[in-house]
Symmetry: C2
Subunit: 351 residues, 2 copies
DNA sequence: CTGTTAGCGCATTCAG
DNA sequence: CTGAATGCGCTAACAG
């Protein structure tokens, strides 16, 4: 078979490399590299030759080799408790979008709120040399976690969590949100108000309780500790504790569900027991969802901009990474997104 | 200052490498590599020395270099339409979990159902040399997409999509699900039944219509084309079309919302117009959600195991990747997960 | 303006 | 059983 002008498109898929392109174009690998990296110091004619050769060979740059050489992976690692929670799904989605617009890939991992597992994930991501970390730790006081975050040179941005001395963070103003929720119920005449939310080991747990306490304090009212359920953010916990709360001799007349998933548990408990909202109990959800909007009655809820959280976190990360430890402000940057309360029909005047 | 036995933990963070560990342990890099890779042909004593040196230096293997050398990234790329949709969030979550258990990292990207964007994402992931692809294309007939999938050597598993000749896939039996939904409404005496779902360019759109048609055919009933709305899976489309449907001179007496997000749109439309379920219209949702369960009345829904979808897809991928083009069955493997209908209180007998 | 070359950090021959 | 040497694919000096 006589040799024709152009070779077949490389061997049966023996991973075509830059060298193949160079040979095909009759130039050196350095020149191919320059064309790829848009170095302007390449003559137009040569550039075209190279581009043609790239097209002919079907070569695609090997990002692994590029990372090896440049010590930058253009990859962000993201560790969240649970992407199945619409809250984190929304944050991950908008963060991923913003990051990709800037050329970063997005490695996602779920910790399930398990600190041990979380350590493994962080280690894994660091070994993969991610350029930055988007992170919502399960326990802000875990010394292993703080050790890693402090020890690494990889820029880290926290979402809905804080390590104020160490990291940038993007959080929502849960304190004010719950404060408004409690104020609202108090203004309706409620005095026995329950708060069910997560532990103080993460920021939302602390801030929600704080907002709750502020509302009572400024109203000159005492908090009944029997109505505080501060142990978990899960649906199951919400279900169980609402159930118990409503079985009290003196049940609360108002309940604040301090967690995105928790309204589900509360509504399940109400359905089971035939509790009517708002006749039997007034409810405020923290975290607005389809369910809050479309339940009967629609549930008053505290909301904030999740899409902005992800985006802001991504922007913060990009700034840090781009600054490369250089021009970046040495002090951690903290952004706090506002919350607002959406009044619906789940809260009645205390009779 | 006299030299003490152990050096300071490397320079102020000059990325410690295997070479540093080797020097510290007084062995060669080859030996360090063997220890790390658990090569048994290393004397216990040396192994311990090396491990001590690793601990002392704080060295972490550089996964980028490993990938470069081994031509395997232990990374799976995942392109889904929208991680904000709980359906895909659940799939991504369980897939990620299974993959990580097998040592794979998980790069996630949202296509937003945009085919152009999708091409870029695929290209990006391929350049990053992912070991496999978990993918839900926006349009099964897009020739650019099929070209890439066919052309690459990277194993690809589709979820809720099919390219039966090219790829493994994991899908749910939407045809049967909608068939059951329609059968149910028909058995209740309904004849004017609307179906609102997505386009036939992706499997769920095709299969849902097929199940719908089967039910009518086997009941010997005609389909009124005016009640078919087959153009999109979005909340906005659901809202708009339900609105229009209920404004018809002869509105449907039953509606099947053929898409996970679509019940939200339907309930919004009902709320706005004061349409009562099931007095004014009976409703079946395809895709079970908190909203379907907890709405008033609770909505009859078709459901399937999302967690299994993600897991099965991950397993299929792992098998392909591990087989490395070798022992894997050459024919694509197809798994179809069953659906079931959950009867609730949203469907009434046609008066 | 383009070619040549030296590594990036590691796994893996091949010697010894 | 361990050390030395090679190269994965690419970028960035440096020469010319």
């Amino acid at each position: 078979m006589p040799k024709t002008g152009s070779k077949p498109p490389a061997a049966p898929h023996a991973a075509v490399t830059m060298r193949d392109v160079a040979r095909e174009a009759g130039v050196s690998v350095g020149t191919v590299s320059r064309v790829v990296n848009k170095n302007p110091a390449v003559k137009a004619r040569i550039r075209e030759q190279v581009q043609a050769a790239i097209a002919r060979t079907g070569w695609q740059p090997n990002a692994v080799a590029q990372s090896m050489r440049t010590a930058s992976t253009k990859t962000i690692g993201c560790v969240l408790p649970d992407i199945g929670n619409p809250l984190f799904a929304a944050i991950a989605k908008s963060a991923e979008e913003e990051l990709r617009r800037h050329g970063y890939a997005f490695i996602l991992a779920n910790s399930n709120g398990d600190a041990d597992h979380e350590m493994e994930l962080l280690t894994l991501l660091l070994q993969r040399r991610v350029d930055g970390l988007l992170f919502a730790p399960s326990d802000e006081y875990d010394p292993r976690m703080t050790g890693i975050v402090r020890g690494t040179r990889v820029p880290t941005v926290l979402v809905e969590r804080e390590l104020p001395e160490e990291c940038d963070h993007v959080v929502s103003d849960q304190r004010n949100g719950v404060r408004q929720a409690a104020d609202h119920l108090i203004s309706l005449g409620h005095r026995r108000i329950a708060l069910v939310t997560g532990e103080p080991k993460i920021r939302p747990g602390r801030e929600r309780y704080r907002g709750f306490a502020e509302a009572f304090e400024s109203a000159g009212l005492p908090i009944d500790p029997a109505l505080l359920r501060l142990e978990s953010l899960t649906v199951a916990y919400a279900y169980q504790e609402v159930h118990r709360l409503m079985a009290l001799k003196e049940p609360p007349t108002g309940i604040i569900m301090g967690g995105n998933m928790m309204l589900t548990g509360a509504l399940r408990a109400f359905a089971l027991k035939g509790v009517r909202v708002p006749q039997d109990v007034s409810v405020v959800a923290v975290g607005d969802t389809d369910l809050a909007e479309l339940a009967s009655p629609p549930i008053t809820a505290v909301r904030w901009n999740l899409e902005a959280m992800g985006r802001e976190a991504a922007v913060a990360l990009i700034n840090r990474v781009a600054a490369g430890g250089a021009a970046a402000p040495p002090e951690p940057q903290h952004v706090i997104l506002p919350t607002e309360i959406v009044l619906r029909r789940s809260c009645a005047i205390k009779s």
